[in-house]
Symmetry: C2
Subunit: 236 residues, 2 copies
């Protein structure tokens, strides 16, 4: 079985949440959101090591209040993030490089505020990244999407072809490091990890995930996450 390392960017300041603490520490069913997310990987046999990426000021708080408190054993190092997610992930990739990652390493990148990812799909994701170079978890878009220009609807992209990208996004280490370094040199800003890879002309596979894999960025999302988590616990 192929194993992998996970970068967990959680350096966002959560302006949309309107809370006084960073959104990744907000309480979700009795634990910080980030603790739910890290638990997905910490207890999964496909994962060897975890690198949370945090605002520099948060590192000691996160160490005591999340890593130590919930006894995560695979957290190798807490990495200081940068001003934006892309800077943070690049810092994470450089930390992996220092720790000896090679072309044989598969790296997953997963948002710290996606606590509802279904970890049973991890072996397939790791295998797809190894085989194809890169893959992204996503779902077909259910909504009607419009192009809007200056307030007026100007058309619709073809819905049959539209997918919503989530995380994890998984890549061979050499490919994703090169994609981030080239984007950094070109000052290119992408909306996700895969966009930095596809801009190099490298193929990235879309792997069908689950609509429950919510990114918790607003107070409504937190309510929704609680409802979904409660249901998941009932089912188990």
């Amino acid at each position: 079985m192929m194993n992998a390392t996970v970068l967990v960017p959680a350096a966002g300041i959560g302006r949309r949440m309107g809370a006084s603490i960073h959104k990744q520490y907000l309480d979700l069913a009795g634990r910080p959101i980030l603790a739910h997310t890290l638990a997905l990987f910490d207890r999964h046999p496909s994962i060897d090591s975890i690198y949370p990426i945090l605002p520099e000021d948060d590192i000691s708080y996160c160490q005591t209040q999340v890593i130590d408190r919930f006894h995560f054993s695979k957290v190798r190092r807490l990495v200081a993030g940068g001003p934006e997610r892309q800077d943070s992930v690049l810092n994470g990739l450089r930390a992996l490089q220092k720790d000896g990652a090679t072309w044989k390493t598969v790296v997953l990148i997963h948002d710290g505020v996606r606590p509802l990812f279904d970890a049973t799909s991890l072996p397939g994701i790791v295998a797809a990244a190894w085989e194809h170079g890169g893959c992204v978890v996503g779902v077909p878009v259910k909504d009607t999407i419009k192009f809007v220009d200056q307030g007026w609807i100007s058309g619709s992209p073809d819905r049959q072809r539209l997918w919503q990208a989530q995380t994890p996004q998984a890549f061979r280490f050499d490919l994703i490091l090169r994609a981030y370094e080239e984007a950094d040199r070109a000052r290119f800003r992408g909306t996700d990890d895969a966009s930095l890879v596809t801009r190099l002309g490298e193929p990235v596979l879309m792997v069908e995930g689950n609509y429950r894999n919510l990114k918790v960025t607003t107070p409504e999302d937190l309510l929704i996450a609680e409802a979904l988590l409660k249901e998941r616990e009932t089912e188990q």
Copy 2:
């Protein structure tokens, strides 16, 4: 103040819900979903009349279990729907025509399974439809959207321009009737009401709504709707 009529298509059979009753009758916090939706309009002063559109077999059930039971006073008539949403709305528009709708009528079209729409925005929506011919409630897309072809990511539409269309969608009666009749003649199938209007080259405005205005189409959506509804009641 400008007033309006509402068509409420609720003729879908709800396959995605996996339930034995049509999704619009599923219980949401003690009432059928459709009763929540109709209540938004029944108690709002901008609305004169409501036309729910239902599967033909459901009409008497809906009359007793929803309309009579919750004492909706603005429901003018229950209209039998067609095989698809677009057929159903066309039936609704023809019912309005029989009942004397003119070019001065503003028609809102609102999904029966969107019980969380914020009705305080109705006066502005009615006014925008009257002024501009048509408008659509929607929200900027937060997600990363990809084009996917045969499983591979082939690019991303420009996120700055992407909006997610919801309902209500509101139009002057003559414009929307013409759009539906021309689509019917051309056997054109759109993904929403506005797409039938914009294909005629007529402008349609996007009006910013709210992320809470969920379309309840899966069991997860029902859970989420319960959580959002509970919160709304706490706030009031």
